[in-house]
Symmetry: C2
Subunit: 346 residues, 2 copies
Amino acid sequence: MLTDRQLLILQVIIDDFIRSAQPVGSRTLSKKDKIAFSSATIRNEMADLEELGYIEKTHISSGRVPSQKGYRYYVDHLLPPVRLTKEDLAKIQSIFNEQIYELEKIVQKSAQILSDLTNYTTVVLGPSVKDHKLKTIQIVPLNKETAVAIIVTDTGHVEKHVITIPPTIHPSDLEKMVNILNERLIGVPLIDLNEKIYTEVADVLRAHIQSYDSILKTISASLDLDLNAPAQMFFGGKMNMLRQPEFSDIEKVRSLMNIIEQEKEFYRLLRKHQQQGIQVKIGKENEVKGMEDCSLITATYSVGDEKLGTIAVLGPTRMEYSRVISILNRVASDLSNVLTQWYQKY
Amino acid sequence: MLTDRQLLILQVIIDDFIRSAQPVGSRTLSKKDKIAFSSATIRNEMADLEELGYIEKTHISSGRVPSQKGYRYYVDHLLPPVRLTKEDLAKIQSIFNEQIYELEKIVQKSAQILSDLTNYTTVVLGPSVKDHKLKTIQIVPLNKETAVAIIVTDTGHVEKHVITIPPTIHPSDLEKMVNILNERLIGVPLIDLNEKIYTEVADVLRAHIQSYDSILKTISASLDLDLNAPAQMFFGGKMNMLRQPEFSDIEKVRSLMNIIEQEKEFYRLLRKHQQQGIQVKIGKENEVKGMEDCSLITATYSVGDEKLGTIAVLGPTRMEYSRVISILNRVASDLSNVLTQWYQKY
DNA sequence: GTTAGCACTCTCATTAACCGAGTGCTAAAT
DNA sequence: ATTTAGCACTCGGTTAATGAGAGTGCTAAC
């Protein structure tokens, strides 16, 4: 329903505003190469665009600023194509340059590079360990009372857990228990461990081990807690927001940092973004107080068909959507490829 | 060489300025209970104090502000006694309430509580693992090429390390190697591991194992890297600085955050503060550009006589020295006590 | 349908005036 | 010999006035 000319104007307004952070006036627009008509014409079109809700004035005689609806339309239909420069590609490549075998490190480095590249804040939601499969479980006694339980998954992830050992348990029982656990539970996804303990392991334990009750508690202690914990979040460029002119007000910085720092809220927000592909949430679409001036762009990365985690870029609503989306696409797919390739070995 | 009255005035000026963040004038001072002489007298005394360098004016006809020298004198000689409230003590106690057996968690929680209590930024330098002693080393093969090496120390600390296994190494050799390592190296401090490998283990290995060269590389890979890594730093209340009026300027926030975020610089700074007891570095005493308006108060915590790490509180020079020092003293000694008690079991 | 022209609006930067908090100095009081 | 009252003076911060500049909406001409 918008005419081509209106679309052109909308696009140029948003492009210019993203660059300059200043309201865009009709005269500025009329000087652009792409635009061949006079400022008066532009003024008329702008009045229409404003009436339709795509742009706004900051005050009665100011230039125009994109509205949330405007950004939404821009993101959905008007994104200018971006080609990543060689430098950009090289940096992205550098994430995978070193031979890294640890998922966490690679994910952390991705967050780092991504924030360098975009100058915004990035968050990478690490893969939940729930679906990883048990490779081995070890219990290393530290002294009479405590021991550290170590769980290794098929992906090389290591969980540790310091536990107390009730004095009723005999060391040899402990050893037996570990053997039984390893015999019966290798290959089981961590999330199913608790169930399997009761269906598969409990009977065997009862048959072989004296202090059955306390040993069960010990097992629970070593396996239970880590499952409900949220997946790790890796941040990059937390302070990049300070450079954006929209955050020259210390109050805004504070309220935004509050959201980021108390990670729970932010984690919940990211959990919503589990769908395949790039997702863009603009301003109030995030439904979080204090993020009205922010946009969140997310992508997922995966191994084969299985989603592993989410990569997110947080910036002002006046964000370089095109560029960020391109970069994010690239990083997510490269990361998926590398991980897929890597996991195939197992 | 300062008269009692001058000291009194200096103290009241600093106390007031710490509270209000506003330059203190003679009239304000004369209204204080402690002060029984007129504003004119105070003006004379202040002129002297200024000449001696303990206080400064922000402009020719303003009230006085403590100088760095003033703060230094205040910290060294004029600290008003502070008694921690029951609430404060209860919060500090709560660090140790839960039965926590993991050093990292307890240290992290200390940082958290400390920043809550002081409203400043806190850093806790975790203990370096270098001095911990090897409890066991395990190598868990993940697939043909990679394995994860797991080092457990007597303190329950777990290091993991993904390594590649050269195809020339036979799995049984790997097993032999692990056995030999465990036989020979248990109880050795991590920092001495590399040396011991050559003095104690190399010969045995050569005698028993075929692919001697590649296995040595593998060992190095599993043990080498983690030693030079700096000890972990745990932050609390990174954003608390935003609430201080001296950081209403976004530029200052940025330069300070830069220092904090790129942890290396900050780590180096903390390393200087290894001496026993409370240390206070005021403003430029920190010798870090961008920290001219900050003070750093540090304490060490230890097990028995052995220093483990450093606890630090970073605030504006206009910091509540008295309160922070009291709290820090308490936390450091409580932490030391708990850890000493805990470690004695080993 | 497009554009030139014009009156009007509003922000922002500059300047001037003023208030208030604070100082230093002098002279009187203790 | 101190201490204090008094007074002239300084300077930052706030308010108000002014003007320039950017931008708009509307009308009338092209």
